[in-house]
Subunit: 467 residues, 2 copies
């Protein structure tokens, strides 16, 4: 598939004036982003969340956006409801929380001391999702600089527990359905493929995240023991290894009975969208992760369908016994795994949890405990033929002069489901984020030069969507 730009961008005088404003104010936007990224808002550690919510509201004020911090059953949300000309109402969603920084020793710069390095801004959260928020704030500011009345009403919803998939935001949306009412909703950010092609994502996978723990007495000793008793005392680490090995086969297929029963296969519309995916997904994965062979040997179209459509069972962490330097001859008293299940429509996290527990019991793992850490992210998708989806695709195509990549369902999870089921709004990852990388990994970054085009397109999209 050709990546050549076939058409001139459809830009008008307003776009030009917006770009001039953005260029003139770029350093101020970067300074705001630096300020946001210096706040260590790690939701997994319940760290600095109210302070960061207050900071977000203050920074939004710097962009001329009056926001308020609102309590939720979890971390505070920040909401701003801006009036506009059109009857079509847009909701934009971002989050101010970030992933943990572990392994800290792989960071070149301290993760909460944002650093400019080789044209990049490096910090935890700069790509996911604080940079994306700044892009949208700057787009609104630039639009208002050109015309004080926004082209359409825009409601900002910025939450603080996205990275732990906290359920509070779902409850908040239900409680504040009137305040948040909208005709179309944008998730945290659209993006560009590595070759610069815009990507519009229409759905997200759901998530079940659990801790599986094996410990004594029957599974092994109640305190760490000398390994000399290993001939007769069971080792929880072995129990955990066997329990985990029973969950997935060598090709990545989950062995839990019933796991795939509710998986809704992609239909012809979905497959057509997948077929429009650029051929570089595979190359990008090879380059990014240094992988020479993919799971189950997949490649090409099969790889894309697997990546976007398959539910997974992933070991995110393992911990037991001694892992320091050298030798320690210990029989551990406890062994723990963190497991991340990505689910697809119509799997339900609570039901998969029940199937997991039944599987472990059926396989004889009576002394293995499953603790659910999140069960609230339900997989959800917007129909690819929704009129507002088609409109966003059209605006994006016209701006970039190339057919956008329309992804039926993102491999990453996010909170689409309340937007679809509570607000009834077609939901997609709209706009475009700055280019960057290492989200959820050390040395997260964005390219500073990519901020201007991201802001300009976002402003253009907001404007065109009003019509």
């Amino acid at each position: 598939m050709s990546e050549t730009v076939h058409a001139e961008r459809r830009r008008d005088a307003i776009d030009e004036r917006i770009e001039a404003h953005v260029r003139a104010n770029l350093e101020r936007y970067v300074a705001s982003l630096v300020e946001l990224c210096a706040s260590p808002s790690i939701s997994a550690e319940d760290r600095a969340l109210p302070e960061t919510a207050a900071l977000v509201a203050r920074v939004m004020g710097d962009f001329g956006i009056e926001a308020r911090v609102m309590p939720t059953p979890g971390a505070p949300a920040v909401v701003a409801a801006l009036p506009g000309r059109s009857s079509r109402r847009l909701l934009v969603y971002n989050h101010y929380d970030v992933q943990p920084v572990d392994p800290l020793d792989e960071w070149v710069d301290p993760p909460f001391e944002p650093t400019r390095r080789d044209g990049r801004l490096v910090a935890r959260g700069v790509a996911d999702d604080k940079g994306d928020l700044i892009v949208r704030l700057a787009a609104v500011e630039a639009l208002r600089a050109v015309d004080p009345e926004l082209p359409l009403p825009i409601t900002f919803l910025v939450e603080g527990q996205e990275e732990i998939d906290g359920p509070a935001i779902g409850e908040f949306i239900r409680d504040q359905a009137e305040l948040l009412a909208c005709d179309v909703a944008f998730g945290e950010a659209g993006s560009l493929t590595p070759s610069g092609r815009p990507e519009i994502v229409l759905g997200v996978k759901g998530m079940l995240y659990v801790e599986i723990e094996a410990r004594g007495p029957a599974a092994g000793p109640v305190i760490d023991a000398h390994s000399s008793v290993a001939p007769v005392v069971e080792n929880p680490a072995w129990v955990l290894v066997r329990a985990l090995a029973s969950l997935r086969d060598v090709d990545g297929r989950v062995r839990i009975a019933g796991f795939y029963d509710r998986v809704r296969p992609f239909d012809d519309v979905d497959r057509a969208a997948l077929a429009s995916l650029p051929g570089d997904v595979e190359r990008e994965l090879r380059a990014s992760f240094g992988v020479s062979r993919f799971l189950d040997g997949v490649s090409g179209a099969a790889l894309a369908e697997r990546l976007y459509g398959a539910p997974t069972c992933t070991i995110a962490g393992l911990r037991s016994g001694y892992a320091g330097p050298g030798i320690k001859t210990v029989l551990p008293s406890v062994a723990t795994a963190k497991i991340d299940f990505r689910l697809v429509p119509d799997q339900r996290p609570e039901e998969i949890l029940e199937l997991l527990r039944r599987h472990l019991a059926d396989e004889g793992f009576d002394n293995v405990v499953v603790r659910a850490l999140t069960t609230t992210v339900v997989p959800a998708r917007t129909p690819p033929d929704d009129p507002l989806v088609l409109r966003v695709v059209e605006i994006t195509r016209d701006w970039y002069g190339i057919e956008p990549v329309v992804v039926p369902m993102s491999p990453g999870g996010q909170i689409f489901e309340p937007f679809l089921s509570v607000l009834g709004a077609p939901t997609m990852f709209g706009g475009v984020r700055p280019s960057g990388g290492n989200a959820h990994a050390p040395n997260e970054f964005i390219e500073i030069d990519s901020l201007v085009p991201a802001i300009c397109f976002t402003a253009h999209l907001f404007r065109q969507l009003a019509e």
Copy 2:
């Protein structure tokens, strides 16, 4: 089997004078032990080893024993060669290094701030093996207080890499075979069973300790990745789990082809010795580790034979990805296990390492790396009918008034093999250590009251062994 003491102890006036000396000097011995235990000589971390060797030599000087620190290819050894009346020469072996302190947060008191608590002395290394060294030093001092000429020549050998099974001491013994020449050798300590019955161990298991690591490219990503790529990018944690699961079955039997080929079964003499083991091994294990069911359902005589005679494959540590609080949706780039194989005659560590590597290759784990951390501890046993073994049994029986437990092979590993093969000396765990516990675990301790009888018996044994 009855644990009743059937005979009066055979004590004479010299034993009485020795006990008086020990009681009068006990607080000084405890002070020396506190001083040794305050030195954080963790060999796995190469920590404070030369300083502790120098401290050991100085403390030995406090007991009137002129010792010298001697270089080895590893940590320094401390040697003292004391003249004595008999032509029968005794070598006693101890070690000044200790296990790591991890998990530190389970210690009630800091591990290197020895603390008296409820009649106990609590510190890392107090039971394994600094307390045992103090018992022998005090025994020599007490013997000399009664008679300046020792009943037999005694050579002390105190090394600093026992807990990591460092090979240097084997080389040192080969190089210094003349200096260390002896007719009988005692390992780090004999002990009493929980019911107070003396135990004489005649052999030790060998050890192969390895790290098994799975990492990219083909086994997974080269850096930690977002778990959204899990449908197509292999996860090293899954590779490691499958590799480990292939090593051992649910009953504890090792699945590596050829693993058991060289195992020399116990003969009738060994089985007779095992049959004399007290019936409380099983009860002790149940009480110590809170275990309700043993591996493979063994109990009674089968449990003892398994405990003392079976080689093992033990997961001592597991580490991969995120193990902090809450949720992190990461695909780890690396997963590591520490594995401790306890071997029995005539298994050879180097050969088992080769079998392990071949097993992993045969099972298709091409991207799993095996790093050997120790291969030098070879299993070894002294014949149970050696005349000096029978003499030690007799002296011990007479003192305690009960038949000693003679164990053909200890489940814990130690460096018997060089004593047997290089020095040609019948080797056993002689004397008795103070009662205590939590060796290799948090809150290691000895009972302070148990020092006096341990020292008195050790002095008696040294004296009687001269005849």
